[in-house]
Each structure stands twice: as structure tokens, then as C-alpha cells.
Symmetry: C2
Subunit: 112 residues, 2 copies
DNA sequence: CGAGAATATTGCTTGCCAGCAATATTCCCA
DNA sequence: TGGGAATATTGCTGGCAAGCAATATTCTCG
């Protein structure tokens, strides 16, 4: 399953959001989600296979941790689109400049 | 259908990629994709409903244009994750420093 | 060893989505 | 006005994914 497909599921995005603030056990995640435990485990398996989380055993528990590097693929796909909305902002700025015409351009560099 | 779900379909991402280099008619897109015309029209409908493309009639033709602003939602979701892979690079740098230095006390807190 | 906790796996059902063919619609032009 | 081009819509099917209950697995501890 592609990274994009994995992210299409809202509960999986929610799991990633939760892991952003720290590692969690399966029980933690089940408590935070409107899902039964087997369903959460299934989502975690997909997230693992997509390289978006990693797991470390701790006795019977499994501690899940975010692996945000897996999201760089999405970020890379998105990259060439940024110039398009940046372009839009430039046009907006230009129009504002035309209205005010005070010349103090708070210009900033692009990303990338 | 959520923006993420719309992007989960590879052919839809391909359509967006094609539109990045210029406006296209449905016929253009059908020629460039391994799909029948009704299927392409269906994808275009979903892309339109998600605000990722816009359409302008030209006689019997419909010219589709990218609306990249619709992707800002994805970009915004991704934003808080960027610091994580930046953090990873920092950790790598720290480790390299530790090797060159002497290595004592190179231990660092992982997550927050 | 036995019980219980934590998690994964299995088996099943349901709903939805991608795909196509066929048809409808809309427009231009002869 | 009729025909053909371009696109959308409809109706259908197959496959897959999400959900749960039940069960299996793995570990700790008394």
C-alpha cells in the first residue's frame, strides 16, 4: 500500500498526530481512538510497512514511535506544486503593492 | 471525499502532474493515461470536487487547469512533521561531532 | 507451571471505489 | 436540421479495505 493510500485513512493520520507528541503503546492508542484494538493493530501494521512508524518491544507491550522520514516522499511529491501557490501569493503582493505603492517590500525567499 | 483520499489514487496524482505543465482537455488526458474516457471523466469530477482542478468550457471541449491551492491543506498537515526529519539531521550532526570530539556524554534525549 | 495482561492474527461481513460499456448530453458545422 | 465530435452520466461488476469478534501468541509474575 502506497504512502498516499496509507495517509488516506483518517484514523491513521490521527495515530501519526498522536505519535508526534511522544511514543505510545497500543493500549494508549486504542484509548485515544474510536476503534477496537484489533483495528488499531491493523492500522499500525500498515503504518509500519509504509515506514511511517517503528516499534520497540517492552515486555508484552509494543511502544510505537513516529518515523517522519517516511513522509518525505509525500513532501517531495508536493514540492513542485508549491511554486504554484507561491506564484499566487506573489500576484497578491503585487496587487497590494500597486494599491499602496509604498515600496517597502517584505520580500522573502522561497522554500526548497 | 477528502483531499488525502483523492490523492491516494495514482492516476489522479498523474493527472495533477500533467496539469502542472499546462492546461489539458479531456482528450489530452485520456491519451496520456491508461484509462478509458469515462474513467478519466470520473477522476476529473473528484478532482474538481476536491478543488484541485478547475474547468473551463471551450466549445465541446473542457479545458482543465490545476488549482494547486487545494494542496495547501496537505502541506499544512505535513508541516509539523518537517521538524522531525530536520531533528534527525541534527542528531546525525551531533553524533559526528561526538566522534570527532571524544564521545563522552554524547547521549541525548530522544523524543519530547 | 498457571493466570492474566498486552498485542497480533484470523475469519468474516459490509461498503465503497475503480474500471468499463453503453448511453445521454452538449456543442459546432455542413 | 442532422451528423459527428467531445465529454458527462448511468449501470453494472470485481476487488479491496475497514471494521469487529474470536482466537492465538508472547510476555511477566506469583
Amino acid at each position: 500500500m502506497s504512502t498516499f493510500a496509507v495517509l488516506a485513512e483518517p484514523n491513521r493520520r490521527l495515530i501519526l498526530d498522536l505519535l508526534r507528541s511522544g511514543d505510545r503503546t497500543v493500549t494508549d492508542l486504542v484509548a485515544a481512538l474510536p476503534l477496537a484494538q484489533p483495528t488499531v493493530s491493523k492500522h499500525l501494521k500498515l503504518l509500519r510497512e509504509a515506514g511511517l512508524v517503528q516499534v520497540q518491544p517492552d515486555a508484552q507491550r509494543r511502544v510505537y514511535r513516529l518515523r517522519a522520514e517516511g513522509l518525505q516522499e509525500v513532501d517531495a511529491w508536493l514540492a513542485p506544486y508549491r511554486r504554484f501557490w507561491a506564484q499566487r501569493l506573489d500576484a497578491l503582493e503585487a496587487r497590494l503593492d500597486a494599491i499602496e505603492d509604498d515600496g517597502s517590500g517584505a520580500d522573502q525567499g522561497e522554500q526548497i
